[in-house]
Structure formats: structure tokens, C-alpha cells
């Protein structure tokens, strides 16, 4: 009898635990999920959907403008360099930011098709990928 009672308590506790964790994860998911897109994919999506997105691409050779604590640059698709998005970023620019560097930007699409980034990360120039060291 005691054994059955314990089993029931564990089952109820597990269901409560899973419900709580599920609710926590779901509520965080609805508010904190962002689009993860390459530049070409982002160009295919309606701009009003890109209020919160993470874009992957590389820094184009042309059009890098550094201004005080920030930079404006063209983000180009890794596979199709014709596809570009203008990115404006205000904040500390990472050490490894340079033309050709693979970068990740997070933010939202602003006016005139300009992506306003609140986060700019360059891919870690890891020793596991020698291409990153070509200068």
C-alpha cells in the first residue's frame, strides 16, 4: 500500500515538475526565440517579420564605415556574395572584425532596409579552422 502511495506521489511530482518546466520553457520560447537566417534567407523574408533576428554572413570588402563606438557595413551571404544587407551597429567592435570575417549580428530590421544590430560577434578565429587565419 505504502509502495503504491509512493509511486503515485512520484508520478504526480514528475507531472507537476514537467508541467512547470514546460510552462517556463514555452513562455521563454514565445518571447525569446529569434529567426536564425543567412543573408539570402533574410532577404526572402518579409522585413516586418525581422523585428528580432540573428543573421549569419561575412563582412563585405566595400562600405565599412567606423564611427566612434560602432560600425556600418555590408553583410553578405556566405554562398552568394550578391545578396547583401546593410548593418548598423553601435557598441564595441570585436577585435577580429575585418573584411571577409564571418560575423553574427542580432537585432531587428529598421528603416530603409537597414539592419540595426544590438549585438555583433565575429566567429572565434579558432585553431580548428585554418581558413580564418588567411589575411
Amino acid at each position: 500500500m505504502a509502495r503504491e502511495k509512493n509511486t503515485l506521489v512520484y508520478v504526480v511530482a514528475l507531472l507537476l515538475f514537467l508541467s512547470g518546466v514546460g510552462y517556463l520553457a514555452y513562455s521563454a520560447f514565445t518571447e525569446n526565440s529569434v529567426y536564425f537566417l543567412n543573408v539570402a534567407e533574410a532577404k526572402a523574408v518579409s522585413p516586418d517579420k525581422l523585428t528580432s533576428a540573428r543573421l549569419f554572413g561575412s563582412v563585405a570588402e566595400r562600405g565599412i564605415e567606423k564611427h566612434g563606438m560602432g560600425v556600418t557595413f555590408y553583410l553578405q551571404d556566405k554562398d552568394n556574395a550578391v545578396q547583401v544587407i546593410v548593418v548598423s551597429y553601435t557598441g564595441a567592435v570585436p577585435d577580429t572584425f575585418k573584411p571577409g570575417a564571418e560575423v553574427i549580428v542580432e537585432g531587428g530590421m529598421g528603416a530603409e532596409g537597414r539592419f540595426m544590430a544590438r549585438l555583433l560577434m565575429t566567429k572565434c578565429p579558432s585553431k580548428y579552422q585554418k581558413e580564418n587565419r588567411k589575411t
Binding site: 515538475f17 521563454a28 525569446n32 529569434v34 529567426y35
Partner: protein, 666 residues
């Protein structure tokens, strides 16, 4: 010369394949003959020896600047110091896989020499070697077919590409091998868990978790050290002021740690109460599988990450291996005999340990799912979605705070239910509430951080009381819980209460960050071997009182063209730490700086160090201390002994079963 190295890898491959097939044949025929077992017990020396020779040849090539090997060209150059040249052994994917294979091979050979191995039944030995050789065959197949460190090139270049300056840091040098020691170390316990579950594990055989205890403790310690060291490197070397960004590659290493930590806690229930056998077989196997899956995430290029590991050919073979291993784990756990007893009440120590394992497992599942969400969402949309850092903070930090509360409460519950030290528990609970109130009064009102910090202080007080109660009897638990509590304090304060300011300063100008003022004293430039540098010297003061100087640098390395690298400087402290990085210099000779105040951040590193050392201290103490008699886990005698051992050291309300009472009467 490298023909010999390739031959060694092939020898290890064929030997592992042959021995795996031999053990499978013996198991199929039900013929656990002594000759077969003897052969299997000797062949591992050949596998490990061949891998050791191959590793020596790679180290020799790195030491001698042998640029005829692609691997040496890719990760070293003529001016790289010998220390970094040798550690480039695990710098690239092929070398790190060779290192991992060597760790697994050496662990297997070490276990075969241990006295505990000699107690195994022939059937268990056969199953164990079958799984061990299967893993070794997979590694050597990867090395021979898809990721070979001994690929030669012609013509031989005069110099190599060199090692990225960001990675020329002791933290980054030891971070990968520690992770691989952790990943590799769990292989022997996992093979033993599966072997004993399939062989029955009856008779005088000790249970797998006791036989492989040093491997579990070492692997967990190394894995923890690898993760902590990676976080410290990110904090000190990258200059962005943080230590954890919830990047897929970081998450990948955290998942095996979470599963292994859950397993360590469910193993305590099995060790003390002879319960959860099948759960533990599953958990230990999942730990090893998750290590392979972590490597799959890192190496396959399936998910975009800030870590530029790039895509490689090992992704598909790794995925196939993981799928097969998962199938084997599920079938084995389902087929294993049920030996345990029903669990005690939820409000018991075993109930709370199980709850703790649920939370750790839930964290692993959530982090893994969220990390892979961009891949999953591609199945139903062309615009895949993923999670930003806020998602992980919002879900994982409350669960982490819950873990801290459980950690504070668990030692004061008895194994069979209810409190074993009611007054102490109430006093510690009161202390937790008072601490939370005090923090609230001082303005630290972020709920998760407040709960985690208060629970951490309560845990630390509890550790002191446990030391008084039973001395240094359980060094692993006491050390690890102290370390974890200190880490929780560090995270609870240095995360939400850090103050950060980007500033542009000319010489003599000041900027404020929190209660501190940074004044630029001078900007100097110069040259050192291999790089030019720019240094800004900042005087830091608090309420008009000078507290020190920071001198962050920017470096331009000769080998890395226009790229600039930041060298952070800090004024360390056990309270606030001042952290400064130099971001650049404009045409008006004004420097761009990031200055941060990180409260209690060093407790994260102190706690992390203690957490890594706790398992090693425990092993040292158990080797030096008197050996406890250990009865076989599967005998009735052990079950009684387990119950009797639940009794607190200082007497009290420990549970005594009727069987034990009968024995005592006799």
C-alpha cells in the same frame, strides 16, 4: 616515416575490430573460454601501444617543425614556442581525436591492470571488452578514414600558418585536453555498466560504479575543469567582459556535464540504497553518448556558432555511432533485470536526490533542444528560429536556483523520509530567509539571484555543520558542494549586478562606472617579439581614493596582418573586480575603453577550482584512509549493509530494517 604512423592507426583499427568480433562470437556461442578472454585482455596493449606510438610521432613532428605534415603546417610556425608547438597536438580535429582515442585506450588498459578488474566474471569481461573494442574501432576508423593527422603534403612549405594569438594562452591550451580527458574517462564506466547489465553481474562481483569509481571521479573532475577553464579564458582573453554566452559549442560541453552530474547523484542512491540500477546504466551510457554528441555539434557544422570550427567529414559517422549507441543503451536498460526496491517517500534524501537528477536532466534536455532548435525548425519552415541568450537565462537560471535550494536542504533529510536534524534544518532555513531579506534590504532584488545567493550561503553554513558533525568523511560531497555554492555566489552577483561602461577618453579625462572613476594617465606604444602594442594606463579610484592602476593593451601580431587583439587587465578582488579592455584609438588620440565592475566574480573561479579538485581529494583520501569492507551489491547482505550505513555517524534516527534488527539480535 608517416607510413609507420598510418600503419599504427590501421593496426589499432584491425586489432579493435578483430577483438570486438571475437568477443561477440564468444558471447553468441555462449563460450566464454579462458583462452578468448586472455587474448582480449592482452590485445588492448597492442591497441593502446599503437596509438601511443602514433601520438609520439605526431609530437615529434610538431617539435621538429616537420612541415611535410599538413597538420603541423596548419597549427604551428617557426616562431611558436616549444610549449605551444607540443600542445598543438590537440589543436586541430585530427589531433584531438587521436588524443581522445589515446585517453580511452589508456583508461581501458589501466582498468585491465586494476585489482577490481580481476574480480569480474568471464561473461562480464567478454561484454566489457566487446563494448570497449567497439569504441576503439570507431575512433581508429575515424582517424584512418576521415580525420587523419598524418596526411603529408608536397612541396614542403618553409613555414607554417602559426597559432592564433587568442589561443596562445594557458587557459585555452589546457581547456581542450581536459574536456577530452573528461569525455574519454567516462568510456570505461559506461562499458562496464552495459557489460554488467547484460551479463547479470551476480556472484561476488562488485557493482560497476564501485569498480570504476576512480574513472568516474577523474572524468567528472576533468570535464568540470575543462568547462571552468574555458569560461575563464573567455573572460580574461576575449575582452567582452563575460564568461558564458550560451553559444552552441559552449552548450555542447555543458550537456555531458549535466548528465554526468545527475548520474553521480543517482549513483549515490544505488550505492547507499541498492536502487535505480537500470536508471544508472542509462545515465552513464547517456553521459558517454552525450560526449560524442557534443563533438558532433562542434564538428559537423550543423549549427552556426561563434566558434569557427568549420564543417568536417566526421559528422555523419559520429551521428551513426550515436544512433547505434542509443539503441544499445535503450535495449540494455530494458533487458537488465529489476533488482531494486521501491523508492522511499519524496520527502526523503533519496527523493530529493532524484528530484535533483530530474532538474539536471531537464536542464540538459532544454539546453540540447534549444541549441538544436534552428535545425528542428527547418523541418516545417524556411525561416528557421533559434533561442537567444535571454531564453537560456530565463529558463536555466531559475532551475539552477532550485538546484541550490535542494543542495542546501538535502543533507538534513534522512534516507527513509523526514528530517534527521529538525532543529538544524529549521535554523538553516531561517538563515536562508534572513540572508534573502538582508540582500533585499541592500538592494539586491533580482529574484533568481537572490534565491540562489541565499541558498548558497545556507549550503556553506550546512557544510560547516556537517564538518562538525562527521568530520572530513565525505570530502567529494563537501568539497564539491562548497565549490558549487561559491560558484553560485559568483554567478548570482557578477551576472545581474555587473556594471559596465564603454568610454572614450583623452589623456587626463575621466569616466565613471558605478562608484568607481577611471582616469586616463597615459597612452604608450611599443614593440615586443612578434607584435606591436598600444597600452592605455588608467588610474582607478573610488570616492576619491586611489585603488590601483589597470593597463589594458591592444596588440598587432606580425603574423596576423591588420587584426588587433585585446589584452585585458584587472584589479582583482574578492569583492569588486575592476576589468578593463582597450577597444581602439581614434585620430584625436582618444582611446575607446570598456571598463566594468564585476562583483564577486573571483568566487566563481575559486569555487570552480574547488569543484574540480574535490573528486581528486576524495580519491586521495580514500587511497590513504582505511579500506572499508564492501559486500557485493547484489547480495541480500549488501542491502542490509546499505540500510545500516544510512544511520547518521553521531547516532540518531537512522533507519534500521527488520532484517538488520534480526542480525543484531543474533
Amino acid at each position: 616515416m608517416y607510413v609507420f604512423a598510418n600503419a599504427m592507426q590501421l593496426l589499432a583499427l584491425f586489432c579493435a575490430l578483430g577483438c570486438g568480433a571475437l568477443s561477440l562470437r564468444a558471447l553468441w556461442l555462449g563460450n566464454g573460454g579462458a583462452a578468448t578472454v586472455t587474448l582480449l585482455e592482452k590485445a588492448h596493449w597492442l591497441v593502446t601501444g599503437a596509438l601511443l606510438l602514433a601520438s609520439s610521432l605526431l609530437l615529434n613532428a610538431l617539435y621538429r617543425h616537420d612541415f611535410s605534415l599538413q597538420y603541423v603546417v596548419s597549427y604551428t610556425d617557426m616562431i611558436l614556442p616549444v610549449f605551444y608547438r607540443l600542445t598543438a597536438f590537440w589543436a586541430g580535429q585530427p589531433g584531438s581525436l587521436l588524443f581522445w582515442a589515446l585517453v580511452v585506450g589508456a583508461s581501458g588498459s589501466l582498468f585491465a591492470c586494476a585489482p577490481s578488474y580481476k574480480t569480474l566474471q568471464p561473461a562480464t569481461r567478454l561484454w566489457y571488452w566487446m563494448f570497449f573494442y567497439a569504441i576503439m574501432a570507431f575512433f581508429t576508423l575515424l582517424l584512418s578514414a576521415w580525420s587523419n593527422p598524418f596526411v603529408e603534403q608536397s612541396p614542403v612549405p618553409p613555414d607554417g600558418n602559426g597559432l592564433n594569438p587568442l589561443l596562445q594562452n594557458p587557459g585555452m591550451i589546457f581547456h581542450p585536453p581536459l574536456l577530452f580527458l573528461g569525455y574519454g574517462g567516462f568510456s570505461v564506466p559506461a562499458c562496464m555498466a552495459l557489460a554488467q547489465a547484460l551479463a547479470g553481474g551476480r556472484g561476488d562481483e562488485q557493482p560497476w560504479f564501485r569498480l570504476t569509481r576512480p574513472f568516474i571521479l577523474f572524468a567528472w573532475g576533468f570535464l568540470t575543469a575543462g568547462i571552468v577553464l574555458g569560461a575563464w579564458w573567455a573572460y580574461m582573453e576575449l575582452g567582452w567582459g563575460g564568461y558564458w554566452a550560451w553559444d552552441p559549442v559552449e552548450n555542447a560541453s555543458l550537456v555531458p556535464w549535466l548528465i554526468s552530474t545527475a548520474c553521480v547523484h543517482t549513483l549515490i542512491v544505488e550505492e547507499r540504497r541498492n536502487k535505480l540500477h537500470r536508471v544508472n546504466v542509462c545515465m552513464m551510457t547517456l553521459t558517454t553518448i552525450s560526449a560524442f554528441f557534443a563533438t558532433y555539434i562542434v564538428r559537423s557544422g550543423i549549427i552556426e556558432s561563434v566558434h569557427g570550427f568549420g564543417e568536417s567529414a566526421v559528422g555523419v559517422p559520429l551521428l551513426v555511432f550515436i544512433a547505434v549507441a542509443l539503441l544499445v543503451a535503450c535495449v540494455t536498460a530494458a533487458a537488465a533485470p529489476r533488482r531494486g526496491k521501491p523508492l522511499a517517500a519524496l520527502e526523503s534524501r533519496e527523493g530529493l536526490l532524484l528530484l535533483l537528477a530530474w532538474i539536471l536532466s531537464a536542464l540538459a534536455v532544454i539546453i540540447l533542444t534549444a541549441t538544436l532548435w534552428p535545425v528542428f525548425s527547418k523541418f516545417w519552415t524556411e525561416a528557421p528560429q533559434g533561442m537567444d541568450a535571454a531564453f537560456y537565462n530565463r529558463v536555466c537560471l531559475p532551475l539552477g536556483a532550485g538546484l541550490m535550494v535542494l543542495m542546501a536542504a538535502c543533507p538534513w533529510f534522512s534516507w527513509d523520509g523526514g528530517l534527521r536534524r529538525k532543529k538544524t534544518f529549521l535554523a538553516l532555513s531561517g538563515g536562508l530567509v534572513c540572508m534573502a531579506g538582508a540582500l533585499w534590504a541592500f538592494g539586491y532584488r533580482q529574484p533568481t539571484a537572490l534565491l540562489a545567493a541565499a541558498a548558497a550561503v545556507s549550503t556553506l553554513l550546512g557544510v560547516l555543520l556537517l564538518l562538525k558533525e562527521s568530520g572530513f568523511r565525505r570530502p567529494a560531497a563537501l568539497g564539491a558542494h562548497t565549490g558549487m555554492a561559491l560558484m553560485a555566489l559568483g554567478i548570482a552577483f557578477s551576472g545581474p549586478y555587473a556594471q559596465e561602461q564603454d568610454m572614450m577618453l583623452a589623456r587626463g579625462e575621466s569616466g565613471a562606472v558605478g562608484q568607481y572613476t577611471a582616469t586616463l594617465q597615459e597612452i604608450t606604444g611599443g614593440r615586443e617579439t612578434g607584435y606591436e602594442y598600444l597600452t592605455s594606463r588608467l588610474q582607478i579610484s573610488r570616492n576619491g581614493e586611489n585603488i590601483g592602476v589597470v593597463a589594458p593593451q591592444r596588440r598587432m601580431y606580425d603574423k596576423f596582418g591588420a587584426m588587433q587583439f585585446s589584452e585585458v587587465d584587472t584589479i582583482p578582488g574578492l569583492g569588486d573586480e575592476i576589468y578593463a579592455s582597450l577597444l581602439g584609438l581614434d585620430s584625436d588620440m582618444r582611446v575607446m575603453l570598456k571598463v566594468s565592475v564585476k562583483p564577486l566574480v573571483n568566487w566563481l573561479w575559486i569555487g570552480g577550482t574547488l569543484l574540480c579538485l574535490a573528486p581528486l581529494i576524495s580519491l586521495f583520501v580514500s587511497l590513504r584512509g582505511p579500506k572499508r569492507d564492501r559486500a557485493p551489491a547484489y547480495s541480500a547482505e549488501h542491502r542490509d549493509m546499505g540500510e545500516a550505513r544510512d544511520k547518521p555517524a553521531s547516532g540518531g534516527e537512522g533507519h534500521v530494517t527488520r532484517k538488520t534488527k534480526r542480525k543484531r539480535k543474533k
